[in-house]
């Protein structure tokens, strides 16, 4: 192939350019390296407004999910401002786009803290983005409120987790399946940290409680060929599928599942990453009758939720669904407000000290902050997808469950982490 030959000069130019850019990025990295003086960055509370950071992916592959969370955060900020703000100061939201890219998240987090001097930041969706920004918030001693259910086994003094940890979503889901007599499980998940950690927990649970994991398969993130996995599920003799697939893969999986002749009756699928927004995107006809595990559904009864759904749809369009991560994000802003008002200050140390026992009448029902783990007491809810694409609750835990990110309260989980 004559076209593939490089001239020596071109190659040299390319190499030196690459060297120069490497040197540049090395300089760039220096500014971000933490020294003790960084901790001197103080949030700016001198004016009549204070800045809060909203850190979500507004572009790239995660935008489909994270834009809705960003909208919910903005809604909460707007409502709080309309009611007079926090400690008499209006909130000025500063949005930064994490662009579905973890290093970008770390960069933008730093910009929010150092340049905008925000008093708190709300956002992140994927565990990878959270793990990328964690050291940044810890270095600058600034607060992040993280709104999405996750795999647990994590604690940070500067992160408040307002989504479910495993004992508020996965463990109750397993309890539910066991109660239904569905004891033989097939685990299907995407190949990354959340499904693998979740499945480790599921296997420990199954072993202790007399359930059986009859198969376990992981598909690369974004994979769209599920015919073999579905064949394996069908041949396995399982009672139910525990699905931790993420994103587009769900579409291919459920289409394949339906055309193989399996149904929600013959072998129900319980999913932990499919909320109202995803149901639309996968196709209601493929999901009708299948199960999900969350802490909130658009259909959750109560005045707080009626108000939240109406406010969201008034702001962003009629018929726009609300979902669990959106609700947890919306609630996180209110929880922070309550903490600040209890502390009487925006100071991070004082806000943290005031956090324990803060309650809020959230759309999902009452939530309470657990100051020790900086997680939130939440009610677990199992739901069924209806013909209209909304999810109706079929079971709930009755009362909010104490967060236990390291599953210390469960004997069978002692070998994990």
């Amino acid at each position: 192939m004559s076209g593939l030959s490089f001239s020596r000069r071109g190659l040299l130019a390319g190499v030196s350019a690459a060297g120069a850019s490497a040197a540049l990025s090395a300089c760039g990295a220096k500014t971000g390296s933490g020294t003790s003086s960084d901790a001197g960055v103080k949030a700016d509370t001198s004016g009549s407004t204070v800045k809060v950071g909203l850190l979500n992916s507004l572009s790239g592959t995660m935008a489909i999910s994270e834009v809705t969370v960003h909208n919910a955060l903005l809604l909460a900020v707007k409502e709080i401002n309309a009611a007079g703000g926090v400690l008499g100061k209006k909130l000025n939201p500063v949005s930064q786009d994490g662009a579905s890219d973890w290093p970008t998240f770390a960069e933008k987090a730093e910009a929010l803290i150092k340049d905008d001097k925000v008093v708190a930041t709300f956002g992140c969706w994927t565990s990878s983005s959270r793990k990328a920004v964690k050291p940044v918030f810890e270095r600058y001693k600034s607060l992040l409120f993280y709104p999405v259910q996750y795999e647990g086994l994590e604690e940070s003094p500067y992160i408040f987790y307002t989504g479910a940890t495993t004992n508020q979503q996965i463990v109750p889901a397993l309890d539910y399946l066991k109660k239904q007599g569905l004891t033989k499980l097939y685990l299907v998940g995407s190949d990354y940290v959340f499904p693998r950690t979740a499945n480790k927990i599921i296997k420990a649970y199954a072993e202790a409680k007399g359930m059986k994991v009859v198969g376990e398969d992981y598909a690369p993130l974004g994979s769209t060929e599920f015919s073999t996995i579905v064949n394996k599920v069908k041949d396995s003799g399982a009672d139910a599928v525990f699905n931790t697939l993420n994103g587009d893969s769900n579409v291919a999986f459920f289409k394949e599942y339906k055309s193989s002749g399996m149904t929600a009756k013959s072998m129900p699928v319980l999913s932990v990453s499919i909320a109202e927004e995803e149901v639309k995107s996968i196709g209601t006809q493929y999901l009708e009758g299948q199960l999900t595990a969350w802490n909130y559904y658009q259909t959750t009864p109560g005045a707080a939720n009626t108000k939240f759904v109406a406010a969201y749809q008034a702001a962003y369009g009629k018929g726009k669904p609300t979902s669990d991560p959106m609700e947890a994000a919306y609630v996180s802003v209110y929880l922070w407000k309550e903490m600040v008002e209890k502390a009487g200050s925006f100071d991070v140390a004082k806000v943290k000290a005031a956090s324990d026992g803060i309650t809020f009448a959230a759309p999902e029902g009452e939530v309470t902050v657990d100051g020790a783990s900086q997680h939130v007491y939440k009610t677990a809810r199992i739901g069924k997808v209806g013909a209209d694409g909304l999810i109706t609750e079929v079971w709930n835990s009755g009362k909010p469950i104490k967060p236990d990110p390291f599953l210390k309260g469960y004997d069978w989980a002692s070998g994990l982490s």
């Binding site: 996995i229 587009d248 995107s281």
Partner: protein, 295 residues
Amino acid sequence: MTVILNQSFTGISIGAVLLLIALGLTLTFGQMGVINMAHGEFIMAGAYTTYVLQKSISSAGISLLVALPVAFVVAGLMGALLEWLLIRRLYTRPLDTLLVTWGVSLMLQQLARDVFGAPNVQTHAPDLLTDNVSVGGGITLANSRLFILGLALLCVLALTLILRTTPLGRRIRAVVQNRDLAEVSGIATGQVDRMTFFIGSGLAGVAGVALTLVGPIGPTMGTNYIVDAFLVVVVGGIGQLKGSVITAFALGVLQSVLEYSTTVSVAKVIVLVAIVAFLQWRPQGLYTLRTRSLA
């Protein structure tokens, strides 16, 4: 036994999908040597065409059948336009083509996002195609997969006929074998290139229609399939249809059998290692074209 038969059918159906997405590339990459990274976006264009048509034609079955020729033309015209705008200026620079078409692919993805939104869209498959048939012995065949298999074979047949029997096909083969000689014999090679690109990209559009039955329809759907499509063409051999046909089915069956006994990732690794080993042994691929050019 049931498992083996079931997996063989699964493998053949995976092969049919591979064949459909690779068929257009056998022309544009295999015959013309253009590395078109935007091939996946032509697949996407075909899928969105199905979606748009379904909005105006209520019957799922009819809209799917109408979508096949319309998607062929839509994606084909996109391909021809891309060829005329950019690729014809870069025929001697394959690496530049790769970069340019990659840029085009990103632009097309963003365009789809702007027009149709970032979330996936849905088409309704006709009821007949979401069903399956039992052939006894515990073996079920999914109708959607049978449809794709039929469609793939039909496309191969049509393409073979075009290349073998029509004046256009003769001209395409002449240009592939020896561009300069074709040029001096009075063949307008530029026009032939554009037609080849039209047909190749159109076939990607047809693949897109078929994929609405099995996978997601979204702005980035093309990227899911592009690597596999190139693999099939490279292993099959440059410029030979039968190479791609055999390779697609062989890879499909290999992948599904391995996947059943191991895991998805392990199966993929073994398939890739097997491909690398095979290409060590036959760098030119399964079949190669005897050309009359000196290069």
